[in-house]
């Protein structure tokens, strides 16, 4: 099929996705309700592979626990990888229930990343129903150990050890439909720990504990000048310290990220933050240490790259406005290995409330465009759309 023939088939692809609505939504609900903290994704991965086994997909897991399904093509030397993360941030003491209403699905982290995994699981069935047989192998990866400190380990390890040549990669995120990421921001993920030393001198330093010096560190980090161009930001993501209002906090932890389009700027800010932590630690008498546990260099494809062009054509064909911006996601695992790749979204969605960071809602109707988008991209990449960039 030519590119324009594939794009002309988008309404049919959407129709097939609609036919598979029950399976797709059941996948979302059942996968979403399986707890999968990083490192213990095996139940969710097993479920994912069981679904793939409905089609003629060769299924396996690797040593990290990632689930790998390969829909074999006619030319075993060519591989296209569609990947998503299998782990989620839902804690094991949280109510995991997912609710399906007429127009939307609500549940803890349903947008991160149950929908994407469910859509991947239905992709072989959708292609099969269209009677499509690819020339390339279509590799469907539910990567384990991706989030937080795992730092995309599952995908990086998979790409490092995959025996064949990967022709192109597609990172599948649940939301938002229309996103088209082809560049990655540089990223440093760090943790600062302030801790009372064992020999803390109460008489000399008082009883302020570790929260006060941590707040001083935060205040100083906030005073670091970050430019708008190149785009740079410092995100204070999570803080934890103390156990009650009347006890002294022995330890306070801060998780944060530095993001920038410039690798040089990233390095400058890193040094500045390290200096701040050292200064405040020395002045307060606390043990203050900093650890950067994840690093990604900035970089990516040009907007004129054939893969970006065809992904944009697919979105336009679906009458979805492309949203192009740099990402901090696992796209960089592909890009840093010189594999052309983009990140796409499956549907639209939002957090349930501003302050509620767990329950998310995704819309049902756009999902079918999301699956059609994946079908079209698989076909276009199979036809060589990512080549020659």
């Amino acid at each position: 099929m030519t590119s324009s023939e594939i794009l002309n088939c988008l309404p049919q692809f959407k129709g097939i996705a609609l036919e598979l609505r029950d399976v797709l939504l059941a996948n979302i609900a059942m996968m979403g309700e399986i707890l999968a903290p990083s490192g213990t994704e095996q139940d969710r991965v097993r479920f994912f592979l069981e679904r793939l086994a409905d089609s003629e997909v060769q299924c396996s897991t690797d040593e990290n626990g990632s689930g790998i399904g390969v829909l074999m093509g006619e030319d075993a030397a060519r591989n296209i990888v569609f990947a998503t993360n299998a782990d989620s941030l839902v804690r094991d003491d949280a109510d995991q229930t997912i609710e399906i209403a007429s127009d939307r699905i609500v549940g803890p982290f349903v947008g991160d990343n149950s929908v994407a995994m469910a859509a991947l699981a239905v992709l072989p069935l959708a292609l099969e129903r269209m009677g499509i047989r690819l020339k390339s192998n279509l590799v469907l990866l539910a990567a384990a150990r991706m989030l937080e400190r795992s730092d995309h380990h599952g995908l990086r390890a998979f790409l490092d050890h995959f025996p064949g040549a990967v022709r192109a990669g597609v990172c599948v995120e649940s939301v938002q439909l229309g996103r088209l990421n082809f560049r990655g921001l540089g990223l440093l993920k760090g943790e600062i720990v302030c801790r009372l030393p064992e020999d803390y001198d109460w008489a000399q330093y008082g009883t302020t504990g570790t929260i006060t010096p941590m707040s001083e560190i935060i205040a100083q980090i906030n005073r670091i000048a970050v430019p708008r161009d190149p785009k740079t930001s410092i995100v204070m993501g999570a803080i934890r310290g103390g156990i009650s209002g009347h006890t002294i906090a022995r330890q306070t932890n801060l998780l944060f990220e530095i993001r920038s389009e410039s690798g040089e700027l990233l390095e400058q800010i890193r040094q500045r933050v390290e200096d701040i932590v050292e200064d405040v630690g020395a002045a307060s008498g606390m043990k203050a240490r900093i650890e950067f546990y994840a690093r990604r260099p900035p970089g990516g494809l040009e907007i004129s790259h054939p893969l970006v062009r065809c992904a944009r054509d697919v979105l336009n064909g679906l009458q979805v406005a492309p949203m192009m911006y740099p990402t901090i996601g696992y796209l960089s695992a592909f890009l840093s290995r010189k594999i052309p790749a983009v990140t796409i979204g499956c549907t639209t969605g939002e957090r349930r409330g501003e302050l509620d960071e767990i329950d998310e809602a995704i819309q049902v109707a756009p999902l079918f465009s999301g699956v059609a988008q994946m079908m079209a991209l698989a076909l276009l990449l199979d036809g060589g759309a990512a080549d020659g960039g």
Binding site: L25, A26, D93, A94, T97, E99, I100, S102
Partner: protein, 347 residues
């Protein structure tokens, strides 16, 4: 006294020896208690179902279940119709929800019925038992599976685990689910508990009067699969007593071996307040005593009141709250002329 009753209920085993209730329960548990995983090869189960020429209907009785009904329909349709054609129809039998239950169920492809619209000449009653009874008339299956609509952790094994014994064991007619019942509280999920009415009311009553029925781990579970030949021949209390009545009636007519039970593992639903359970217990007791009466197991029972009184304290004064809970019963469906006509049975 209890031991004497148990001895008097002993039956001859194959060697002609009397077998104790405990022994019979042990044998039955060994033969007729399953785990859903024994039926998880759905391809094989569908093959066996087709070989036996069975049709299977799934009925979900509802009243204001918009939060959970969508997922139940989607999961059952996906797993038991689209992927594996084990179930032939999925029906929602609604008591008149005033939320979006019927709309959500219909959106996801269930056949949605208002119980009041079925057999209108028989009138309309409000109660789960009414919905279950009218499903016998409305649905086509040789087997009807009933699943409550308030299950938060719904999975296909809630259905195939109950159908399996009926497909594989022709002598079994009535399969009940049992499960661990972690309560859901606002804080999250507790690991175990539940079944208060079972443990402090129903099990003691069964132990007193029908000790073999104590073999059923969850006699009140709302999930069961039953052959039509049995369903159409038993009366249906329309309220809380429906499960209890089924147990006693099926036991009396077909014996313990007509039953099987399947471990469904875990069922998460909202915990009911104790006051609601009091009303449930009242309905169950009415049914129980009516069965004792009709079976002649208790001589000269007095007339029984239908008012349950519960109390609230307002400004230091105890206020009565009266609930008139009369456990009405529907007759065996096979005695209903419209049903006989619909099924092509002789009048």
């Amino acid at each position: 006294m209890a031991a004497e009753r148990e001895r008097s209920q002993g039956v001859d085993d194959a060697r002609g020896a009397k077998q104790s209730v405990s022994g019979r329960i042990r044998d039955w548990l060994g033969r007729n208690t399953f785990h859903y995983s024994e039926f998880s090869d759905l391809r094989a189960l569908v093959r066996d179902k087709e070989a036996r020429g069975l049709t299977i209907s799934l009925c979900i009785p509802t009243l204001n279940e918009e939060k959970t009904i969508g997922k139940e329909i989607v999961v059952f349709r996906s797993e038991l119709m689209t992927r594996f054609p084990l179930v032939d129809e999925i029906a929602v039998m609604d008591s008149g929800s005033d939320d979006r239950t019927r709309e959500v169920a219909a959106d996801y492809g269930a056949n949605v019925y208002m119980a009041a619209d079925i057999l209108p000449e028989m009138g309309a009653r409000r109660g789960k038992g009414e919905n279950l009874w009218k499903a016998i008339y409305q649905l086509r299956g040789d087997v009807i599976v009933y699943v409550d609509a308030d299950i938060k952790n719904i999975r296909p094994h809630f259905v195939y685990g109950l159908i399996g014994p009926l497909i594989r064991r022709p002598e079994v007619s009535y399969v009940k689910a049992f499960y661990e019942r972690p309560w859901v509280t606002s804080d999250g999920v507790r690991p175990s508990g539940g079944g208060r009415v079972t443990e402090i009311l129903v099990r003691p009553l069964l132990s007193l009067f029908f000790p073999e029925l104590t073999a059923l781990i969850q006699p009140l579970s709302g999930e069961y699969a039953v052959r039509r030949q049995v369903l159409e021949r038993i009366p249906f209390p329309i309220g809380y007593g429906v499960e209890t009545a089924h147990l006693i009636d099926v036991y009396y007519r077909w014996g313990l071996d007509a039953f099987a039970q399947t471990d469904i593992s875990q069922r998460v639903h909202r915990n009911q307040p104790t006051r609601d359970l009091g009303r449930m217990a009242f309905g169950i007791l009415q049914t129980f005593f009516s069965r004792l009466d009709s079976l002649g197991l208790a001589a000269e029972l007095p007339d029984r009141a239908t008012i349950l009184r519960q109390f609230l304290v307002r400004d230091g004064v105890h206020e009565q709250q009266e609930y008139d809970l009369k456990e009405e019963e529907r007759p065996p469906m096979i005695d209903v002329p419209a049903y006989r006509a619909r099924r092509g049975l002789l009048p």
